[in-house]
């Protein structure tokens, strides 16, 4: 058990060292800036849109009940260079999401990083071909 906890913490720390720009159509009023949560779940919707795409997924809550999560990203044009596309997720995919939660405690947040079923992660790091989406505002 202790080893499992340490492994989880190790993964979490590793994930949290990844720096992701957080810029969107809205400011940070609703987000608990700096807080990070990691949730493993099953995709129920991937909505490709402007000014925000969002990913919905179901995950087991602490009491065993299913929790319906929704996390937003930037708009499609801005996350394309980071490796996302309209086809990135399909319903039923098992994903592990690192997110910055909203302040009001609902199962929502903005996506910082996601590990896909094949073990790859998005957004891509620069070393893996990820590109900044230009100097325009990120939306």
């Amino acid at each position: 058990m202790k080893n499992a906890v340490m492994r989880t913490l190790g993964v979490a720390v590793g994930l949290l060292t990844v720096s992701v720009p957080l810029l969107a159509h809205h400011g940070a009023a609703q987000f608990d800036v700096g807080k990070k949560v990691i949730v493993k779940g099953t995709v129920t919707e991937w909505f490709w849109s402007n000014p925000h795409c969002f990913l919905r997924f179901d995950a087991a809550g602490p009491d065993g009940q299913v929790v319906h999560w929704a996390v937003e990203t930037q708009s499609g044009p801005n996350i394309l260079p980071q490796g996302f596309s309209k086809q990135t997720f399909k319903v039923g995919d098992e994903v592990t999401v690192t997110l910055e939660p909203v302040k009001n405690g609902r199962p929502m947040g903005r996506l910082l990083r996601v590990v896909l079923p094949d073990g790859s992660a998005l957004p891509l790091a620069a070393a893996d071909g990820g590109q900044a989406p230009g100097n325009s505002p990120q939306n």
């Binding site: 000014p51 490796g83 009001n104 609902r106």
Partner: protein, 323 residues
């Protein structure tokens, strides 16, 4: 193959191959921007030429989420580098999420009406930002952002088409355009009853994007003036600064060199602001490749509706309170 053609043909083949490599090495789709390179020495500015695709030259340069760039409120504290306001304030649905830190020396010179209009706006960016659930920003319902908001917050990749009679500004954000006439016509005399010519026999038509005329004041500086705006439904920026049907905008484009353009914006509106003020001071733009395909960034009301149902409306303390 004739020998004289061999060398140029081989050179062309190598060039095409290199071009193919360059254009396929990016593993992901999406625009690839030309950026400033250290030590680069651009050529001289061409004479009376704004044509091309432009992108803010510095990372984040087009982002003015805190408000009009030259007059942002709550600037960083010089000693600590931190903003004066609380960085991550508690959520509230009864007032602004951040401290309202209006300071005369760093805010536009509001009149009483201007300040009242400002305070009626609930933006999702800037120092008075609220959660999505309680905002009243018109563009989040896909209303046109209008001018100059398209520049004061959302200056994204934009193209300028230049003809002998006008400049056409093509904006990526919300896929909009506007025309600046350079054929010598004057602005509508009465900005609250605007019409371009009486000969048109058209009734006065206020516009989301206003009426714009421009001229070269020297070989590298183009100045445009705009009036005749719709009403106060448009905001100046994403921080909720007010605009009205009496707003006049002066935009100055200065061609610095072959690769760069600087854009400044001056706002005049006696109804809202006690004196003219500079909202954008020399935003530096970088010329892009003519091959750059500007991405689509349309606002879809049905997409927005879905976003708010699933996400935006649930970001406040009390869901579904968005007006």
């Amino acid at each position: 193959m004739a020998k004289p053609l061999l060398v140029p043909t081989l050179a062309l083949a190598v060039a095409l191959l290199c071009s193919l490599v360059v254009h396929t090495q990016g593993p992901m789709p999406g625009a690839v921007y030309d950026r400033d390179v250290k030590g680069e020495k651009p050529g001289p500015a061409p004479r009376r030429d704004l044509a091309g695709i432009w992108e803010p030259a510095t990372a984040g340069g087009g982002i003015q989420g805190k408000g009009a760039l030259a007059m942002e409120s709550c600037k960083r504290d010089g000693a600590t580098g931190r903003y004066v306001v609380q960085q991550n304030p508690p959520l509230t649905d009864t007032g602004y999420a951040t401290v309202d830190c209006l300071k005369p020396e760093i805010e536009p010179p509001y009149t009483a009406e201007g300040l009242a209009r400002l305070k009626a706006h609930k933006p999702v960016e800037g120092y008075r930002m609220v959660p999505d659930a309680v905002n009243n920003d018109p563009i989040l319902g896909c209303d046109p952002g209008g001018f100059p908001r398209i520049v004061l917050h959302n200056f994204r990749t934009s193209e300028i088409l230049q003809t002998p009679t006008h400049m056409v500004m093509l904006y990526k954000f919300q896929k909009r355009y506007r025309t600046i006439w350079t054929d010598g016509r004057e602005l509508p005399k009465d900005p609250q009853q605007p019409a371009w010519t009486t000969a048109d026999r058209l009734p006065p038509e206020p516009r989301w994007w206003g009426y714009s005329v421009g001229k070269w004041v020297d070989d590298h500086t183009f100045v445009a003036r705009t009036n005749g705006f719709q009403d106060d439904r448009t905001w100046l920026d994403n921080a909720g600064l007010p605009q009205s049907d009496t707003t006049e905008v002066e935009e100055t484009y200065h061609r610095v060199d072959a690769n760069h353009l600087e854009l400044s914006i001056k706002i005049t509106d006696a109804k809202l602001y006690a004196r003219p003020w500079i909202a954008l001071d020399k935003l530096r733009l970088r010329l892009q490749s003519p091959n750059l395909d500007i991405q689509e960034m349309e606002c879809s009301p049905s997409d927005q509706k879905h976003y708010y149902e699933i996400f935006g409306n649930n970001t406040g303390l009390d869901p579904d309170t968005r007006k």
